[in-house]
Amino acid sequence: MSLEQFKNRNVGTQNYTMLDLGERPKTGWDRFKQVARRSVKLELFTGLKVTFREMIKALFMGEMHTIKYPFEKLPISPRYRAIHEMKRLLESGHYRCIGCGLCEKICIADCIRMDTRYDENQRKEVSEYTINFGRCIFCGYCAEVCPELAIVHGGRYENASEQRASFALFEDMLTPLDQLNQQQEFPGFGAVSPDADKKIKKTPLAY
């Protein structure tokens, strides 16, 4: 584009294609004639026919094109990064998180915190875990860095609630124990690659 074209600031006269819309009615009589002509030609029903056909399809032939939103939701891509989920071990039902703190460290919004302690079974227990969703930017680093695939992004994209705290605690994010059999393995960032076995050099074991 040349500089002169830039300098032409008469918006509307540059590269517009004008539509041929015919004559617009000018007098009142002309306008009346146009209405009468359109009414008699029944053009309206041509349009209504399409609507009626789609209604019949949707209501009686099961071809509905919309969903009943709060009650129904569309499936979402596994790469979408919504509210976090904490996974459990399928065998024992124990939470996977080992409290290593890597997510806490890598979090660029500094919104993850955890309390850990030495428990009676000589293990590191995660006594509390929170994400401040007011600050979380859903970057996905936490899921990527997690060595246990314990914290992942789920599909819950509605972040509105009466209180933000209502999904920020460990137990809110953990898979409920009764739904453990429905827990899906996370395929997104940080997940084990399908050919991981081939890449590993095995360590000799003496037992």
Binding site: K105, R113, T116, E128, P204
Partner: protein
Amino acid sequence: MSKKEITITIDGVECRTWEGEYLLNAARANGIFIPAICYLTRCSPTLACRICLVEADGKRVYSCNAKAKEGMNVVTQSEEILEERRAIMEVYDVNHPLQCGVCDQHGECELQNYTLELGVDSQHFAVPDTMREVKEWSTVLHYDAGLCIVCERCVTVCKDMIGDSALKTGPRGGPAVDKAYKETAPKDAYAMWNKLQKSIIVPSNGTEHTNCSDCGECTAVCPVGALTERDFVYKANPWELKEIPATCAHCSSGCHLYYETRFTSIDNHDEMIFRVKNEWNFQSLCGAGRFGYDYENRDVTKDEKAFAKAVEALKKAKTVRFSSMITNEEALMLQRLKEERGVRLVNPEVRPFQRFLAAYAKAAGRSLYGSDYKAIMQESDFVVSVGAALRNDNPNARYAFNNVQKMNKGAGLYFHPVGDTLVPTFGKSVECIAHKPGQEETALYLVLDLFADRENLPEYIKTYLDGFHETRKRTIKERVMKEVVEKVLDKESGEENEVKKKVPEMVEKEVEYDHNLLVEALGGDPVAFADSFEKMMKKKSSFALIVGEDLYGHPRWENLAKLVALAEKHCGMKLAMIPPKSNALGVALICDLDDSAEGYTVGYNQPGDFRLSALGEGDLDMPAMNQQEGTMSTMNKRVVPTNAALEYGGYELNDLMNALGLGKRLSVDWTAELPVDKGFQAVEFDDLSDGFLNDGTEVRGYALTAFKSRPSAAKVAAASEEAVLEGEIAYRCNPQRQFNDFTDKAHQIFEAFALYASPEKAEALGERVEVVFEKGSLLLDVVADERMQGEIVEIPDFKADRDVYGLFGESRYANVTIKKV
């Protein structure tokens, strides 16, 4: 021990170092990296890891125990060496748990670091693992044997530095290394693995629990997460903690440490100290420093009413009584208060020390004692300690005494009335003399007698000392070979032959010997002492004298100070004193202390009519030492900076000074005004450096200047028996790890305010007693201290409100009546 400077070549770089210095230290001091796991700078080489392998003049040596020689050519990396080192790291990684994520050493782990540094990306070795249990060794020590790589650093530091020798290697059990590896594995890796696979660390007393001073130095030196503080286990990750360099405020050692802070928890976002770390290669901490960190004055806000009252109180105060756990700046503020408003400054902890130091300065012609503990540790091979309860008074003095025995093949003489079973275990050549309380003069005369250069001693002292020597006779049994004639029957010929034979026989014989009456007066056996002293003196060239608090409050302190100066001058001894409490040296130099309180008293962390307190229980809150910045004077005669680790919301002493019109904008604005004529320097706080150099040189703050003057010619008086105590005696002495109210406040320090006695004495006393002094009495529980011996009982002074100083008076010993309750 004189040092000769030499030049060696390491990897083509010319390095200056000392003859006989270990190659590893020489390389480190010159900024050349040699990997090493088991070596600790101030301890003897363990030779467990073998990873510090280098080539010196073409020969393979371990740089941690190979000594530098003039013109040596050292290569730290070659194909073979790297292969050997890589194999060693592979061996260390065999069966080491891979749960780094939950390990408390994660991120600062030497196993992780060296595994990556040496590029271990595959494993060629394997051995069946052995079940190794997690052990809680004491109230503070947590040992996860599964993580242990048996580098023996804990064992080494406990023996060579701390002196408790509470750890050793024990059998691991489990299978041995497959012999087939002998062919495939590099030589050193195989040898090291064989040893590693056989052992594990166990308490040396054969039980499940360590019997030690709970200093936690073993947890500091542990390269992996095997040894940790129990309180810290799985509480936080090391890399989320913020390191704040500071100075430990509990005793006069003034050790360098890092407070490690983080937010408290999810619910509480305030900073909290999670643990304490130290530069363990250059500075060892004691249990009070490592575990007594949470003494901060919490949740303090600016209470204006209390502040106004405090200003009023200071205006009408006749006396300010304060503890020595304050910074130099605060001491200077109090001194300014004295100068401007004429208040009396009272500090019963420091006053005797200040007098003693002044008397010493007068006699010696130098304002400060001549040496320090670092020099003693590095150079001396014979240490004498007089008037200090080494185990309890000051950890660094004790570490120095122990380190000399272990590292410099040294000897030690320990004069103290309270019998101690730990000090004799520091080394084979340690002689303990449990004299009567009050005989410190005699002890110092004995030191003069033993070590002084007789020729240069003043004539009157020579005559005085000669008076203690008698030539006596004693009978000794001697083995003599005696010739005996035996008749032997020759079987073949049937004749009797006379055969001469030599047979040993014990013969009693009278010999003359030099009987030392000074030793006898101190309760020792002169004959046995002379024998052992002769052995102790073999190959010794550098002597040191440590003097402690017993001398400062001694009724004849003035004469003792002169004697100490005399010993320093004529025995060629390195002299180091133990300032009694935290910043005692700073207070002694900065403040003009008064002997007694008078009228309305404001107490700063001390009892008084109006109490300023950092313990949170006084009339106005003050910041504790971990919430303040400022400088402290250590017993190594340095002025060192300390920083605030935690937030403090209330008023501080400088605010009070401001209200009185004497203050400055910040407390640290006083730093540059510290009195130059007392040895301080006019340096701003922010210009003070902190830390250690690679070769261990301390660059914290600056060294105090000692001023020279003409030594006074006043004569030293003869030893007097007037101060000698007989009968039931109490000794003012804190248990290990307790120094003041602040250590007591810390949640990991449990030693009680009780009467400490040897097990036999404790049994005789029962559970609870009333100790009656001249001026009052104390009700105390009785605690048996296994390391104590004899009849003298110890009464702690770490609780200021119990006014133990008032009960004892200036001397640390007092005659008491102990009643069972």
